[in-house]
């Protein structure tokens, strides 16, 4: 197939119309009356909300801003600014008390303290994968970094138990947000609109029954670079467009690239497209001015993440093959 660097360029207006039609159709078919969406202050939720407003109108779109203790304060500021720009209602719910009640922070801190016993309230933490997969081959091994708030940083490689303990605790943040979104949705007979893009969906960069727990995913067919193109076209506020993509889950700032993707989005999306479409390694390397080794490395990473996250994209496994409507 013909593969080139401009292959992900889209007709933004045509695509926006198509997605708006999709949202309208889904709301009607589910017999709902609107959409509720979590506004994170990032580009994915801002764009998805823009589509909801375009499809359903500003009266039928509600934004929830759901900060917690570790959230960057600008996330709330940008989310509210975006909501104001769209003219929609936006409610703020601090989910920290719910997380404290569940023990999210305590469980996470206990896991960290098994590695760094001194870790406490004034500390910040983040997890990262080795940087730049294309420059240097390495496995996806997480490093935990802590900082005492006075610039004294320490880091250590995470073993399986530590990693799973920290992830299990922090994933409750996204699951708590899902709970709030469905509370609003059911109360108002709205559906919950998801915000996962294709770059995330294919590689499993979402939380099962967290941000993955939604009724529709209007941007799940769009690569992150296309999300940015459409967001600019639809007038998402510049502060969000210029902000580096981040999960905003850890007290120490970490970008999506540092935490998970390991390749800058422009390059990542093209390579992901090439992998998905079965573009031969030599063709992808030639078009992108990369070595075949670099492309092979990226493809191996995609295949591994796709395989590991496959269960996250499926309905729960059961012996029930299909549900048929009864005869009339």
């Amino acid at each position: 197939m013909d593969f080139h660097k401009e292959i992900l360029e889209i007709n933004c207006e045509k695509e926006a119309r198509r997605i708006s039609r999709f949202i309208r159709k889904q709301v009607l078919s589910m017999r709902k009356e609107g959409a509720v969406i979590g506004l994170s202050g990032g580009v994915d939720s801002a764009l998805s909300a823009e589509f909801c407003v375009r499809a359903l109108g500003k009266e039928k779109t509600i934004g929830l801003v759901l900060p917690e203790t570790d959230s960057n304060p600008v996330s709330e500021e940008f989310a509210l600014k975006q909501a104001k720009k769209m003219g929609i209602r936006a409610d703020i719910i601090d989910i920290s008390p719910t997380l404290e009640g569940f023990g999210t922070y305590k469980k996470r801190d206990e896991a960290i303290q098994t590695i760094f016993p001194e870790y406490g309230p004034r500390y910040r933490m983040k997890m990262t994968l080795p940087p730049d997969l294309l420059e240097r081959d390495s496995f996806n091994i997480y490093t935990l970094m802590i900082d005492d708030g006075q610039g004294n940083a320490k880091s250590a490689r995470l073993n399986k138990e530590n990693l799973w303990n920290i992830i299990a605790a922090t994933d409750t943040k996204q699951r708590t947000r899902m709970m709030h979104l469905y509370y609003y949705a059911e109360k108002m007979n709205f559906l919950v609109c998801g915000t996962t893009n294709k770059t995330e969906l294919v590689q499993g960069f979402f939380v099962k029954y967290g941000d993955g727990g939604v009724d529709i995913e209007p941007i799940a067919h769009l690569y992150k670079t296309q999300v940015y193109d459409l967001a600019e076209h639809l007038g998402v506020i510049p502060q969000i467009l210029q902000r580096p993509a981040s999960p905003d889950t850890y007290s120490f700032h970490v970008s999506d690239e540092e935490l998970f993707f390991r390749i800058p989005f422009r390059t990542l999306d093209l390579l992901l497209y090439a992998w998905e479409k079965g573009v031969p390694i030599e063709n992808a390397a030639g078009a992108m001015e990369l070595t075949e080794d670099q492309v092979k490395r990226a493809f191996r990473d995609f295949a591994g993440k796709f395989r590991t996250s496959e269960h996250m994209r499926k309905l729960p496994a059961s012996l029930q093959k299909s549900i048929r409507r009864g005869c009339r």
Binding site: P130, S138, N140, I141, R157, N159, K160, R300
Partner: protein, 95 residues
């Protein structure tokens, strides 16, 4: 858990590793056999969590410390590469 080896010739290192990988990863990947040069990642035998398990095992079993910069496919992605890597580490440690 395999008994710790006092002397670890290449053949023994490889067999310890083969047994560990077979018992812990092969059936999960739906595979029955493992060639010395099979890529553990490309064949879906280990994922990133599997690498962590493997690291924990070889550090304990061979009493070696694997540095972050050594956690690369060139050292860990096949039975042959793992064996050579561990042999080098053991030789360096004076076993």
């Amino acid at each position: 858990m395999t008994d710790k080896l006092e002397i670890v010739p290449e053949r023994d290192v490889k067999e310890v590793l083969r047994r560990y990988i077979t018992e812990n990863f092969l059936s999960r990947a739906g595979l029955e056999g493992l060639d010395d040069t099979d890529s553990l990642m490309e064949k879906g035998i280990i994922d990133s969590t599997g690498v962590l398990e493997l690291l924990g095992f070889i550090e304990e079993e061979f009493t070696i410390k694997v540095g972050d910069v050594e956690v690369i496919p060139d050292n860990l992605d096949s039975l042959q590469k793992l064996t050579s890597f561990i042999q080098r580490k053991l030789a360096h440690a004076g076993h």
